[in-house]
């Protein structure tokens, strides 16, 4: 796969790689000096590659999480699930393509799957609104949650959205209401729920289907109360300070394990999941299966109590005065 999309932080590396590529087109046998130079460049590139990806900042990871070639929910559905039956519609207004809902099988276990769904090209992205759901998307998700509960199917959710869509129609049809109802429903769902952050975790639109008995995140996915750009433009009046703000917001998988919100991190190939999707699919399949196995057979009351206790524990407070 040729990389079409270059992220800011890897640009120096990519430029050098391009130069090396050009040099390698030349006939170096006639020019041993140049050949030595090329060899040196290759070494230099290796070192740069290592340092580039060794210590990614929050903002770097945000770039990776948004990489157009990053595997999407539908890729996971195709790669790690079998017997996938996509279900459509909220039975009320429409079928929001920004949310995918399916019955599917993972490692022999039947589950329901919900995910945010981005497109892979402009046409798809327009149809799917860049993965930003309208209320009918969350209502479709709720319908499938209820279906899963009714038939005792564990729920797997795949989180990958910049956020719920901020638009006139979305507000008119009750964006806030749909998200709130989804949160309440998911919090009390009487089947195991495993949520996996696979890309962007943008605010309430992510959270609506984005928590459960286990919250797993890919190494370069993010989960945040607000996008770093929006936060920077509010607090600094300067969206350019997004990189700085991204660190402040503690939105990486590692940050969130530290805050007790995320349970585990799935490492990605060097450079991000798009560099070797197959490896990532394998890892996600394994972790999700393990999580489902661990949750299997639990009494639903116990499951719901544990989930509540988990949610209930999130937050840092103090008693300021008597």
């Amino acid at each position: 796969m040729t990389r079409r999309h270059v992220m800011e932080f890897e640009r120096p590396l990519v430029e050098l790689e391009a130069k090396l590529g050009e040099l390698r087109q030349l006939d170096l046998t006639a020019n041993p000096e140049l050949a030595a130079e090329v060899a040196a460049l290759a070494v230099e590139i290796e070192a740069l590659r290592e340092s580039t990806y060794a210590d990614l900042s929050a903002w770097d990871r945000v770039q990776i999480s948004r990489h157009p070639d990053r595997p999407k929910a539908q890729d996971y559905l195709a790669a790690i699930f079998t017997d996938v039956v996509e279900l459509h519609g909220d039975r009320c207004y429409g079928d929001d393509e920004a949310i995918v809902a399916a019955l599917a099988t993972i490692d022999g276990r039947r589950v329901a799957v919900l995910g945010h769904r981005k497109g892979k090209n402009t046409r798809e992205n327009i149809a799917r609104n860049f993965g930003m759901a309208h209320p009918e998307g969350f209502r479709k998700a709720m319908r499938i949650m209820r279906l899963a509960e009714k038939f005792g199917l564990p729920l797997v959710t795949l989180i990958d959205t910049p956020g719920a869509f901020p638009g006139i129609e979305a507000e008119e049809r009750g964006q806030a209401w749909a998200i709130a109802e989804s949160l309440a429903l998911l919090s009390g769902l009487r089947v195991p729920v495993v949520a996996v952050g696979i890309g962007e975790g943008g605010s309430g639109g992510a959270l609506a289907i984005g928590f459960g008995d286990r919250l797993i995140m890919l190494e370069n996915s993010y989960y945040s109360v607000i996008s770093p750009e929006a936060c920077a433009s509010i607090l600094h009046k300067d969206a350019g300070k997004a990189a700085e703000v991204a660190t402040c917001l503690a939105m990486t998988a590692t940050d969130l394990v530290g805050l007790g919100i995320v349970d585990e991190i799935i490492p990605e190939p060097v450079g991000g999941a798009h560099r070797d999707p197959g490896e990532v699919f394998g890892a996600v399949r394994g972790r999700v299966s393990e999580a489902l196995k661990a949750l299997s057979g639990r009494d639903p009351d116990e499951l719901v109590s544990m989930r509540y206790a988990k949610l209930r524990a999130v937050g840092v407070i103090e008693e300021v005065q008597g």
Partner: protein, 292 residues
């Protein structure tokens, strides 16, 4: 959400209310106010007598949490709990200014520890847990402490079999607490659900403004959702929407009346009738109907 915009703008103007400008004057009352809607001068005494509703145009000025509680609770019945619960600065958040400074100045200015006040009370003799958010406190944004107090409110009500009445006003999630703040949406919604499963009533009163993560969680999960006239209520802020869709918003967009028309709230209630309305509703929902 532009929580701190609201907040800063207000700080710069020395207002008590976003929609009512209070100005020192030499009238007997000592102060007079300029209505943000009709721009008329309203004397403080007039305003207090009229529940802080503009006598000229009906504009509902913001209330503080305790003004709201005073309005709703039976006299002398309110007993606050968790008054000392406050947010800390778990992320060491600094942007423009440190979060600790924002917290400190909000506490100083409001006399509150956090953006919501909760307690036990009676309303028309019905035992309730009553809460009111105070927009002066960092836009009553929901961080760990606000989320905790709301969750405890539902829990106290569930275990003591009380109804819950919450008056909301909020810019949304408190971004200075990052994901800890976002997760309060799930936490408060989960607590509201447990109250609902116990078949106890929950009435919410959406006041100006109720936005973002508060609207998209506990605020709208009530059995009956009331709203004050002219309140701004929604998920995304108007500016964010305009920037996203690159067009101007229709007049009245995200107002209480607009949401009523779109099926999202049960009733828009003027402040003068709010307490009576909540009391009547509690009569229906907390009255112990047929066994189901």
């Amino acid at each position: 959400m532009s929580i701190s915009d609201w907040f800063k703008a207000r700080e710069a103007r020395r207002y008590t209310a976003v929609n009512g400008e209070r100005v020192a004057g030499d009238v007997p009352d000592g102060v007079w106010n300029k209505c943000s809607s009709c721009k008329r001068i309203v004397y403080e005494g007039q305003l207090v007598a009229n529940l802080r509703v503009c006598p000229y145009c009906g504009n509902h000025f913001d209330l503080t949490a305790f003004e709201r509680i005073d309005l709703l609770a039976d006299p002398g019945s309110f007993a606050e709990f968790d008054a000392g619960v406050g947010s800390t600065d778990p992320l060491g958040f600094v942007a423009a200014k440190p979060y600790t400074v924002s917290l400190e100045s909000a506490r100083e200015r409001s006399g509150l520890t956090e953006g919501v006040v909760v307690g036990r009370a009676t309303i028309g003799d019905h035992p309730v847990v009553l809460g009111a958010m105070d927009f002066r406190f960092i836009g009553a944004s929901m961080g760990s402490a606000v989320g905790e107090k709301i969750a405890r409110s539902f829990e106290v009500a569930t275990s003591e079999r009380r109804a819950v009445v919450l008056c909301t006003a909020s810019g949304g999630a408190r971004m200075q607490e990052g994901m800890l703040s976002l997760m309060q949406m799930a936490k408060t919604s989960a607590a509201a659900r447990r109250l609902a499963e116990a078949r106890l009533p929950y009435i919410s009163v959406l006041t100006n403004p109720t936005m973002g993560g508060v609207t998209a969680s506990f605020a709208v999960l009530a059995d009956v959702v009331l709203a004050e006239p002219g309140a701004l209520i929604g998920f995304a802020g108007p500016r964010v929407i305009e920037q996203t869709i690159k067009q101007h918003l229709p007049k009245g967009f995200q107002s209480s009346e607009y949401l009523l028309e779109h099926g999202m709230v049960d009733e828009v209630v003027v402040r003068g009738q709010l307490t009576a309305r909540v009391t009547t509703l509690l009569g229906y929902l907390a009255g112990g109907g047929e066994q189901a």
